[in-house]
């Protein structure tokens, strides 16, 4: 079974982003970029499926600028077999990415697409569901466990009230939540090997996809600052202050 793993290049989760003074966006120049952490979990899951003999070929795909090749090399170093970059300098929004991924999926015919549930830059949490809609495939979002059979995946999902188990017929789209697995680190020999694995580059127009944004970002601002830093000496003072000053407890 072929598994497609879309990955996104994002500002590293440890970086504290700064809003640009002109309000046009967030400053991403000269900051560390990494694979979106939820996509790392998706890659790990795909690699484990291959190690268990349930998947035969793993294909990673990323959409964006040429530097996304680094993200794809990371996926290759983690155990993915080959990679595809849909290269464009255009701003890509989730719907456009879903359309690009659909075009790739139609070509590659995977039985399963595994991807992160959301990217930690735009926090949209949309692309997987949109891809499933466009392909007319069932979806299983927020997965914390995946059991794969020949024609069906049984997925434990993290929902607001606890957990839900859903069975989806293949082909299907699954999005990974935090506790699906703990991703491995790429080893040096595997990083070297990854450099020799195939990485194809295609352009959105050869896929016949219009990636024009549908949302216009009018401005980006810093959230209102919270004035914190107040201290109390002990439990007694805390309770007294919560009662008389903050008035949040009786």
């Amino acid at each position: 079974m072929k598994v497609l793993v879309p990955v996104k290049r994002v500002v590293d989760f440890n970086v504290k982003v700064r809003v640009k003074p002109d309000g046009s966006g967030v400053d991403t120049a000269n900051v560390k970029m990494s694979m979106n952490p939820f996509d790392e979990i998706a890659v790990e899951e795909a690699v484990r499926l291959k190690e268990k003999g349930l998947a035969t070929e793993l294909v990673a795909v990323s959409c964006g600028i040429a530097a996304c090749q680094e993200t794809l090399r990371t996926a290759l170093a983690l155990g993915v077999d080959r990679a595809i970059l849909v290269e464009t300098d255009a701003e890509l929004q989730p719907l456009a990415v879903a359309k690009l991924l659909k075009a790739i999926a139609v070509k590659e015919q995977p039985q399963l697409v595994i991807m992160g549930k959301q990217a930690i830059d735009d926090d949209a949490n949309q692309t997987g569901q949109m891809l499933a809609a466009l392909l007319d495939w069932p979806q299983a979002t927020f997965a914390s466990k995946i059991e794969l059979a020949a024609s069906e995946a049984t997925v434990k999902r993290e929902i607001d009230g606890g957990l839900e188990t859903i069975a989806v017929k293949l082909p299907a789209v699954v999005t990974a939540d935090l506790r699906l697995n703990e991703p491995r680190y790429a080893t040096l020999p595997n990083i070297m090997k990854a450099k020799k694995k195939p990485l194809d580059v295609v352009k959105p127009d050869t896929l016949g996809v219009d990636v024009a944004p549908r949302l216009v970002t009018l401005k980006v601002v810093e959230p209102p600052k919270r004035k914190g830093g107040g201290r109390v000496a002990d439990a007694k003072e805390l309770v007294a202050k919560l009662r008389s000053e903050a008035k949040v407890i009786p």
Partner: protein, 312 residues
């Protein structure tokens, strides 16, 4: 301009998030309809029809909507979508699952996690774990939004038009089915809804020690939450998680116990009215946003706090 709000419910009762979404719909303006999709959920449909400002409830009843999949909700909403300018869902696990499926089927962009309505086509949403707020304008004819419940007042359940109209659901497609749910049972207030929330972090050291927080929560009638670290460590189930990818809460009082204050945790609670932090590390980032910081050993302080609250 007519807005369709997709209700979230558990068959017995409407989830309060739905009322907040109606609150957001009122900010957009126009007629508001609510879709209740379920099986034998007519009580929910009646409740929804009583929400202030709701002109009409569309009630789809079918066996396969009892535990609806995003696929079933998507197919249903797309059939109804023609009449609507906006389709709104709560930014809960239900809404996050279904909304992009609807948007994808309609070929429109989605605006996720709306925290303010500037105009019928312009909305504010957090990005980068709430470290920036983006104002975005949708150029699509139809707008699909998920709404952050804590950012909008709940519309009251009274004064609605009381009108319920049945609608047919498209047939089941037998490709996705819900096998079961394991829901955390609790007598405490719901985390996203509670006036007081007490959350524990890695500092609790083990799951058993959450009992300390339970005793305090009992005194305050508070909900219990946790940081991602505590959930990852297996101290408590996933539905306790407060943060960027967990639940977003904004109670009157948030008490963070043994939580250092990672960015992704702050994203889930920094809109709380009053924040208390208890941590033994005086340098913990949580203190920078706390109104009342208490440096010390939580294993001593929490029981003292519980005892102090018992005094009248």
């Amino acid at each position: 301009m007519t807005i369709l709000v997709i209700a979230e419910h558990d068959k017995a009762a409407l989830k309060s998030a739905t009322q907040h979404v109606v609150g957001a719909a009122q900010r957009i303006g126009g007629d508001i309809h609510v879709l209740v999709a379920g099986h034998e959920a007519s009580a929910v449909a009646r409740t929804a029809s009583n929400i202030a400002g709701v002109a009409k409830v569309l009630h789809a009843d079918a066996a396969h909507l009892a535990s609806p999949t995003a696929e079933a909700i998507g197919a249903l909403v797309v059939e109804l979508a023609g009449a609507y300018s906006h389709i709104l869902l709560p930014a809960t696990s239900f809404g996050k699952d279904a909304a992009p499926r609807i948007a994808g089927l309609l070929d429109v962009a989605q605006v996720s996690d709306v925290i303010a309505v500037e105009s019928p086509d312009t909305f504010v949403r957090p990005i980068y774990a709430g470290n920036a707020f983006a104002t975005v304008q949708s150029k699509d004819a139809k707008k699909v939004l998920t709404v952050r419940a804590t950012a909008f007042d709940a519309a009251a359940v009274n004064g609605g038009a009381g009108l319920v109209e049945p609608v047919a659901a498209p047939p089941e497609r037998d490709r996705a089915r819900v096998i079961g749910q394991e829901l955390t049972k609790s007598d405490r207030p719901e985390l996203t809804n509670a006036r007081i929330v007490i959350s524990g972090g890695r500092g609790l050291q083990k799951g058993e020690n959450f009992k300390l927080l339970e005793a305090l929560a009992d005194k305050l009638n508070a909900a219990l939450g946790a940081s991602r670290a505590a959930v990852d460590a297996g101290f408590v189930p996933n539905d306790y998680q407060v943060g960027q990818t967990g639940k977003i809460v904004a109670p009157d009082l948030y008490i963070a116990v043994g939580i250092s204050g990672a960015i992704q945790h702050l994203a889930g609670m920094k809109d709380s009215k009053v924040i208390v932090a208890i941590n033994k590390d005086p340098e913990a980032p949580i203190f920078q946003i706390a109104d009342y910081g208490l440096v010390g050993d939580l294993f001593e302080i929490v029981p003292q706090l519980t005892a102090e609250l018992s005094k009248t």
